[in-house]
Amino acid sequence: MRPAREHYREVVQRTPFHSRTAAANALNLWHRWRDYTVADAYVDVGLEYVALRNACAVFDLSPMTKHRISGPDAAAFVDRLVTRDLTRLRPGRVGYCVWCDDRGQVIDDGTLFRFADDEFRLCSQERQLDWLLRSSLGFDVAIREETAEVAALALQGPTSCAVLAALGLEGVAGLAPFAMRSFPFAGAELLVSRTGFTGDLGYELWIAPAHAEALWDALFAAGAAYGLKPMGTHALEMSRIEAGFIQAGVDFLPADHAVRTDRTRSPFELDLGWLVDLSKPNFTGRRALLEESRIGPRYRLVRLDVEGNKPARDAYVYDDKRNVIGAVTSSMWSPMAKASIALASVRQPWGRPGDELWAEIYYQKELKWNRFNARCRVVEGAFYQPPRRRATPPPPW
């Protein structure tokens, strides 16, 4: 390994799976995710997506920011950090959560792994070390970023459980959504959590970087019979929009990045009110959210079924009187829903289920721009939600 002070020589790092992802990357298509380079696609986005929805696909998750939180006050600390009630998050469980600033505006969302009473891992899109440390005043906790110490893969899709079983992970089928368990793997410890960003049956695999390549190889050996393919960020992005999941920096602006105070969103405004427990005595943002629950949120996150087949990319959203009431933040043609779908942020009171909204769509045909107004239907819940996502054990393949 390089001495730490040499880090700058390699401005963008390779993930522990790089030797394998590079070999698989027939398109040589990369982009930068934080400090790491990751594949956008390996062979063909469409094929990767089809593998994900019909067989399974693996995604290199290593650049995901991971923080380790431990110490006598760790549980009290995370409880004050996030908006939801964590008292029922037992060791061995994972919880999806959001955290806010004092104004009740979302800083980021992520998954919280509880290893023990006093030991957690927080995974997030954005770096949170500074916020975590600043939030730790008065708590006896140790917090560090462990992104580089953990290699991670997302194995997602209907055959993912079967692949893990073929890999020899005994009893993996018994893992319930948001549960995690460690398995011995080639002399190492492999942590498997039933989590993911695709809205499908799937798992995330966590292992020490030294064992990363062996894990990749073993997975592909076991997965050959189950249609396993490597998948890049493009296919993942498609699946997360179908699942209706939001992404920091895309569907909302992290509160600590915002200069303009009206650009941020509260959990209520991101359809995450179910994650807010105002009966908790204290958490950061509580007072503002209490007030917001009294006076009502300013915005609403809506999932739109857009007429036609053109993605409503960056489209303005109008009410039925041609007033601009918001904008699309994520959009795509969904092969599973067979519809043009979008996530949008609109001003209250618009966007109630059943409301008729309009998206102004621009698209190009052979360098000629066209424009039309597409009628949108507000959809409740995810655009794609297979029952296998929740079933334990998952249906056999």
Partner: protein
């Protein structure tokens, strides 16, 4: 009187006592819990040597709220003044000392132009100070205005500034953020005059004369009735307040340090004493400083993260030490007329001297040439020392709380340095010393439980004033935890023996106010 648990007031300093008195007069059951064995906090008279008593921390009242004196009948409860409107004498090693009396220069060699400019300068500064003093009774405005009512206090402040008239308003807005050094430089030539005025701008702060904001601090001090000596020392203000509170029905428990403010049921539940005893409270009103109250007694975990950080970063490193001398006779200061020894003596030969004294504090050293504010209260008040003998009380700056060398090691050297300086200005004084007490900011922190030993419980500067005091989001006495109130010098309008913070906090509590 209402049934049920009492309102618990933490601390029997003057602000805690004022809050207790107002709450009790409004019919609330009030219990004051004080860590020390006596009332007073930093406004206290203590015996520091057998039969010699002194105002241990605050030694002059400039700002004491006349309305509170009247409303609570403090004179009836024993408050008397041995002297009001003390003159200011600027000590000089050579020649006749400069003597300032109100808006007049009554003695000392200064250029005629300075003499002529002094009156208008002071009058104008007093008008500016009056604008700030008018805010003392107002609860600072909310920063994010949710209702039109929230904007009223801000509008009132704006109106007060506007009422100064065009020229004064412009000048006020120009100078309020400035360094006193520059403002004095514009107005005067005499180093002695500028030195004496600069002292008023930096006393009790971690500012030099060339620091921005020092004019604001100057105006804060100028906002009262001028320096005065309560008979029996400054502690008698608190004795009168305690009598007023008790006569209104408040109970005061001494030797009862609070270990924690307890929470439950969505707000404060009460307090737990260091003895282990728990006391349920309808509300808790704390005159302990903001860091003590919010981070140590309540605990950061009961605040939201950003607010906790703001409290943590509140600047509250004290720089003022107190020196007390028991003297066998009246000291004779060079250049000071015999009749003036009991006036307020300041030692700062120039505004540059003040800034150089401050330099040391920046680098966590003490000034070897400190500035001083000296009183010999026994000239006016026979209750403090045996007949014919005297007490000297001096505020000595800069003696930073966070001294790099550590106060245990440096205490002796510092005291020697100060005595040397005094000897130069009052030859023979060292021979008169019967006993001496030096209180560094660390001693003040320990004895009086004030974080950093800071005069104002937290630096008083524009970024920590009004709606930003002690920190944004907690500037309206009611804290974000339901039922918890701050009422000490850390709140608007700040430190000094005023009482307005205690009075305002009581008013907010009675009105069911929110942060």
């Amino acid at each position: 009187m209402t049934e049920g648990p009492p309102v618990v007031v933490i601390g029997a300093g003057h602000n805690g006592l004022a809050a207790a008195a107002y709450l009790a007069r409004a019919g609330r059951r009030v219990l004051v819990v004080e860590a020390q064995g006596h009332v007073g906090g930093a406004a206290v008279t203590r015996e520091f040597a057998p039969r010699f008593r002194v105002s241990s921390v605050a030694h002059l009242t400039h700002l004491l709220d006349a309305e509170i004196v009247r409303e609570l009948g403090l004179r009836r409860h024993g408050l008397e003044f041995a002297r009001t409107r003390l003159r200011t004498v600027a000590l000089a090693e050579q020649g006749e000392a400069l003597v300032l009396d109100g808006n007049r220069i009554v003695a000392g060699a200064v250029p005629d132009a300075d003499r002529a400019a002094y009156g208008p300068f002071i009058d104008r500064m007093r008008r500016f100070a009056a604008v700030l003093a008018r805010q003392h009774h107002r609860v600072p405005p909310r920063l994010a205005w949710a209702r039109w009512r929230d904007a009223l206090p801000a509008a009132a402040l704006g109106l007060d500034i506007r009422r100064l008239g065009r020229d004064d308003m412009r000048e006020f807005l120009r100078v309020v953020t400035m360094a006193i050094y520059d403002v004095l430089e514009e107005s005067f030539a005499s180093p002695a005059l500028k030195g004496a005025l600069a002292v008023d701008a930096v006393l009790g702060t971690r500012l030099g004369s060339r620091s921005g904001n020092s004019v604001f601090s100057y105006l804060h001090r100028l906002g009262g009735g001028g320096p005065a000596l309560p008979r029996g020392g400054v502690g008698s203000v608190c004795d009168a307040l305690a009598a007023a509170a008790r006569s209104a029905g408040a109970e005061i428990r001494l030797d009862s340090p609070v270990a924690a403010i307890t929470v439950g049921g969505g707000g404060v539940a009460g307090v737990r004493l260091e003895s282990g005893e728990s006391i349920a409270a309808a509300a808790v009103v704390s005159s302990a400083d903001p860091k003590t109250t919010l981070l140590r007694l309540l605990g950061a975990r009961h605040l939201e993260a950003e607010l906790a950080q703001r409290v943590h970063h509140l600047r509250s490193t004290g720089t003022a030490a107190k020196l007390h001398l028991a003297l066998s006779g009246l000291p004779r200061f060079r250049g000071v007329a015999a009749g003036d020894a009991g006036e307020r003596l300041v030692l700062a030969p120039s505004a540059t001297y003040v800034d150089e004294a401050f330099n040391a504090a920046k680098y966590r050293r003490y000034s070897s040439q400190p500035i001083m504010e000296i009183t010999v209260p026994t000239v006016h008040d026979g209750t403090l020392a045996p007949a014919g003998q005297h007490v000297l009380s001096a505020i000595v700056q800069f003696a930073p709380y966070d001294l790099a060398a550590g106060w245990d090691a440096a205490r002796g050297r510092f005291q020697e340095c100060v005595l040397e300086l005094l000897e130069r200005h009052a030859p023979g004084i060292r021979g008169q010393v019967l006993a001496a007490e030096l209180l560094t900011p660390q001693d003040i922190e320990r004895d009086f439980r004030i974080s950093g030993g800071h005069w104002h419980h937290g630096e008083l500067a524009l970024d920590q004033a009004l709606m930003l005091r002690p920190v944004p989001g907690a500037a309206r006495y009611a804290m974000p935890v339901a039922g918890l109130y701050l009422c000490g010098a850390g709140c608007h309008p700040g430190g000094g023996v005023i009482g307005a913070a205690g009075r305002n906090a009581a008013r907010v509590l009675l009105a069911g106010g929110s942060p």
